[in-house]
């Protein structure tokens, strides 16, 4: 509230920060070599970053925008609330993923996105959620919370792993697990443990045949796959802005289907409570959800109105997306997958195809995440200390960043540990060669 004694100051309308990509720059990026594109990124010269599955690397421009917008807003005294809805940023980013601004919110990370989606579903005692043991803790913990809080039944299946996994196995596994009580299917777009690119469209088809809600943990999807979320038929998706999308830490995407396009998903919009929303009515109800292709409310606004927010982080994420668009999302996807395939081949060559936990023979399931067991002895696959030592030494002695993961394997009583490397657009085949060779040497030493 402005003090009445002072002259009224009209705040300048918010404008996009200067420095939007020019047409010529966009064209340059579109045609730039991968070597030139790598220079966009704030990456140390003496390090190899093969862990974008945890956190990506920001382009310099994204960092610059973040800093610039932060400075602009610091002490500006402007009204923070309208721009905190990020209307233009959301509109731009939504288009990148084939959806509309009223269906997208920029949240803080995929964990928050998953949590708010799960918390917002209208699930009751007796309902059943079907998911996998390979989901991120953010999915499993929130489902268990609902189990304890309101009696939701949670059914988990363990996804197959190994180089010869087939798409049909996965779909069949889900189908056999559906019961009359199942209300929602939750699965990752790309699993963080084995890097399985899940057959999202087919799983959504399955879900829709059974009248189920679909929730996709798309933490790894933005920046990796050029995905049209509407065409995939998903109801909800949470994505990370700071992994493959290379936006700043503290950014994520939350998609909530907000209109019915039967050619993609004929089911009615699910009942959904926008958890964390200052726009939720103080009295009365939200408008009923639409049954047509015209939204009845801006669900994105409901989800985005969560108090004052950092304009800088949204601006930076939007900038990252803009750069991706300029390079070409399809082009990036092809590049990332090609590097992932190369990494997979090198691992298979060096450690044997049996060492791979990531699918290989079925191209539909391949992603740039490659998980494998680097040790020869079978029992070392459940030795967490050895894999941890390998990853630590890879980092300390070779300046190569990867990570280790732990997960369940069907028909095995053990918790399996594996090394995981992720290939991204700024990586090279030489880097992959160095990493695989170093891991083989370390595995020999540690064995």
């Amino acid at each position: 509230m402005l003090p009445t004694a002072s002259p009224r100051v009209v705040p300048a309308p918010y404008q996009s920060p200067p420095g939007n990509l020019t047409e010529s720059y966009r064209s340059d990026l579109h045609d730039a070599s991968w070597e030139e594109i790598r220079k966009l990124f704030a990456l140390p010269e003496d390090a190899i970053h093969l862990n974008s599955g945890t956190v990506g690397a920001m382009p310099h421009e994204v960092l610059d925008i973040y800093e610039q917008v932060t400075r602009e807003w610091t002490g500006s005294l402007r009204n923070i609330y309208p721009p905190s809805l990020y209307p233009e940023y959301r509109a731009d980013i939504a288009r990148d993923f084939g959806v509309d601004q009223d269906e997208l919110a920029i949240c803080h990370n995929a964990t928050e996105g998953n949590s708010r989606i799960i918390a917002g579903l209208d699930l009751r005692k007796g309902d059943e959620a079907l998911t996998t043991t390979h989901e991120c803790f953010s999915v499993l913990s929130n489902l268990n919370l609902l189990h304890n809080r309101c009696g939701l039944s949670v059914k988990t299946i363990t996804l197959p792993s190994g180089y010869d996994v087939r798409t049909e196995e996965i779909i069949d596994l889900f189908e056999r697990a559906i019961t009359p009580r199942t209300k929602v299917m939750l699965f990752a777009a790309v699993t963080l443990f084995t890097g399985t690119r899940m057959p999202v469209r087919e799983l959504c088809d399955l879900a829709q045949r059974h009248g189920l809600i679909t929730v996709v943990d798309g933490a790894l999807l933005p920046g990796m796959l050029h995905a049209d979320l509407r065409a995939l038929g998903i109801d909800f998706l949470a994505g990370s802005g700071s992994k493959f999308q290379c936006g700043p830490l503290g950014t994520g995407l939350l998609y909530a289907r907000n209109k019915v396009l039967p050619e993609y998903n004929p089911l009615p919009l699910p009942e959904f409570w926008p958890v964390i929303s200052t726009w939720y009515p103080l009295l009365g109800h939200m408008p009923n959800r639409t049954v047509t292709n015209v939204e009845s409310c801006n669900m994105g606004d409901y989800l985005q109105s969560a108090g004052s927010a950092s304009i800088a982080r949204a601006a930076a994420l939007a900038k990252a997306c803009e750069i991706w668009n300029a390079i070409g999302r399809d082009r990036i996807e092809r590049r990332i997958l090609e590097l992932g395939d190369y990494a997979r081949e090198r691992v298979a060559e060096r450690f044997g195809p049996g060492a791979l936990y990531s699918p290989s023979t079925d191209a539909r399931l391949r992603s740039p995440l490659v998980a494998f067991k680097p040790f020869r002895a079978a029992e070392d696959a459940w030795n967490g200390k050895k894999i941890s030592a390998l990853v630590d030494r890879l980092e300390n002695e070779y300046r190569i960043w990867t990570r280790w993961i732990e997960f369940d394997v069907p028909d095995s009583p053990h918790l399996h540990y594996a090394a995981r490397l992720c290939t991204h657009l700024f990586n090279t085949r030489e880097e992959i060669d160095q990493a695989v060779d170093a891991m083989a040497r370390l595995a020999d030493q540690i064995s």
């Binding site: 304890n148 967490g384 732990e406 009583p413």
Partner: protein, 570 residues
């Protein structure tokens, strides 16, 4: 305040009747002995002494030989909650010559030892029902070494050539447990003394044999230097123990001596008050207290003390104990208030109330109900006699009741004899020494031979809170192996099924529903007659020089000897 600051030195003297059941942690179960075991054998997890305990949820396992509590967030617990990875605390040594680190392989050996068929863990079901492959290992062990006179070489040969699939050492410092299903109480299980590590030297001894007792090794602050079963024991300081590697024990006293003699509570109390002893051993002698003390700790996990357990395997009286109506008749015959009076007069230092359920109040699954109500809990001889007649025993019945020869037990036995005489059952009372009582009951051969028909033991939970596994499983799950706590060989497949459902629950709330079902079934079967439930809330008497004596519920409210000290000025 004089004595308020810890003081090192002195020999702590305990005096009283009774004995440890076993010295070997692979089979020791008697809580009295838990005071002593805590001094020389450490586990991955243990309990801290809690002063002024008000809530049983404070009695929760803390790391002892483990470096930390495994959780999903320190890579110690898998997301499925079925794989525990425990890292050992560095620097803990055995008092061997030369001193040697306690290793993960020592724990693997310790777990194998508790499966031995000669003198195994009475609580083995805690482990075989949780750890993958352990039930199979125990079965294979019993088959490979079927005779009770097995030699140490035979036992070691089996242990060293067979593995428990779900327990392995990743390296010297890391132990992995793979469970059959999530177990919400697994850390409590790992805090039991059965789950102690065993040095390789133990391969040379039959568990708890005289040779073992002469050669126990220590990784705690004290070591056993003398042990005469039922007579005396002494512990001296362990010279290789270091406070820096033990977050739980301060070890103020220099030595601990226990003198075991037949003595009534009055005599024990007099010894303590005259300064000839510091603490009671086995005799529940209390410090002066108000007649009806109110203590928030009264609601702590109640123990059943005593309860009447029937020997289903006894052939006596034409298999009378196997007849439901006979058991129900006895349930109606018992005057519980008379027994309560006996304990009250004993000034045992507990709050007592008649028990009507297998699960006493304060534990998960407890609900207040009584399938065999009698007026004022005084018994109903008429109803009892009717049931006996219906069972075909209108001419009466002769049964054997065994009892301990210490404290209130002889008088309780006489009270029961009087109750049963009214309904036509003649009791032959057999008195057993404290040291012999539980080993006698734990041998199913005695049950099958009809050497007893019923008895009145006591049962205190091994841990508190979610402890259905510590109450109902050992008491009622089918288990006729030597060392069993299902003394009477009770077996009901439906009860076994319900126990398994409770154990596979992923939340304590879910488990409580099943535990209550188990309670109800065993009461319908009249497998036991709960007599009294109690909460030992009043501290045992101490000598004038004892300071910082904290009662520990997990060892039946006996004191934590590892942290009290002796005031030299007292």
């Amino acid at each position: 305040m004089r004595g308020a600051e810890p003081s090192y030195g002195g020999t702590l003297r305990l005096f009283g009747p009774g004995s440890m059941d076993h010295v070997d942690p692979a089979c020791a179960y008697y809580m009295l002995g838990g005071q002593i075991l805590r001094l020389f054998t450490r586990q991955l997890f243990t309990y801290a002494p809690i002063r002024n305990l008000r809530d049983w949820r404070a009695v929760t396992p803390i790391p002892d030989l483990a470096a930390d509590i495994p959780s999903t967030y320190n890579a110690g617990l898998s997301a499925s909650h079925k794989v525990y990875t425990v890292h050992l605390r560095p620097g803990v040594l055995w008092d061997t010559t030369p001193p040697r680190p306690v290793t993960a392989q020592d724990f693997v050996r310790g777990f194998k030892r508790m499966c031995n068929p000669v003198m195994g863990a009475g609580g083995i079901r805690y482990f075989t029902s949780t750890i993958r492959g352990m039930a199979g290992y125990c079965a294979d062990y019993a088959e490979a070494v079927p005779h009770a006179e097995a030699t140490a070489e035979e036992l070691a040969a089996f242990q060293n050539s067979h593995d428990i699939p779900g327990i392995f050492a990743v390296d010297d410092d890391t132990l992995v447990f793979e469970l059959l299903q999530p177990a919400v109480d697994f850390l409590h299980i790992l805090a039991l003394t059965f789950a102690s590590p065993a040095p390789v030297e133990y391969d040379a001894y039959v568990p708890d044999s005289p040779a073992f007792r002469r050669n126990t090794r220590s990784n705690g602050p004290y070591r056993l230097v003398a042990y005469d079963h039922g007579v005396a024991l002494r512990l001296d300081r362990n010279p290789v123990w270091r406070r820096a590697t033990d977050p739980v024990r301060n070890a103020y006293v220099d030595a601990v001596e226990v003198t075991m003699e037949m003595a009534g509570p009055g005599q024990v109390g007099e010894k303590i008050q005259s300064g000839k002893a510091d603490l009671s051993w086995a005799s529940p002698v209390t410090a002066p207290y108000a007649l009806d003390p109110t203590d928030p700790g009264n609601d702590l996990g109640y123990a059943l003390n005593p309860y009447l357990v029937f020997n289903f395997a006894s052939p006596n009286g034409g298999g009378a104990m196997g007849n439901l109506k006979v058991r129900q008749a006895i349930a109606y015959a018992v005057d519980k208030m008379a027994i309560a009076q006996i304990y009250h007069d004993l000034a045992a230092g507990t709050v007592m109330r008649p028990a009507t359920t297998a699960i006493p109040p304060g534990n998960d699954g407890y609900e207040d109900y009584d399938l065999y109500p009698t007026p004022g809990f005084r018994g109903d001889p008429e109803k009892a006699r009717t049931l006996l007649d219906e069972a075909g025993y209108e001419d009466g019945l002769k049964l054997i009741a065994v009892h301990r020869n210490v404290d209130a037990n002889p008088e309780v036995a006489r009270s029961l004899a009087a109750d049963l005489k009214k309904v036509g059952i003649a009791l032959e009372l057999v008195s057993l020494g404290h040291a012999d009582y539980y080993p006698f009951l734990q041998d199913p051969a005695n049950a099958r031979a009809g050497r007893w028909d019923f008895t009145t033991p006591s049962w205190t939970p091994d841990w508190f809170g979610s402890n259905g596994r510590a109450f109902l499983q050992p008491m009622f799950a089918t288990n006729e192996s030597r060392g069993t706590s299902n003394y009477g060989c009770y077996s009901n497949p439906e009860v076994d099924r319900l126990i398994e459902q409770a154990l596979s629950a992923t939340s304590t709330e879910e488990a409580a529903v099943y535990w209550h079902e188990v309670d109800h079934r065993v009461m319908q079967d009249a497998a036991i007659v709960p007599i009294l439930a109690h909460a030992p809330t009043i501290p045992h008497l101490t000598s004038s020089r004892v300071r910082n004596a904290i009662a520990m519920p997990t060892i039946d409210r006996w004191f934590d000897l590892a942290n009290l000290w002796l005031d030299p000025a007292a």
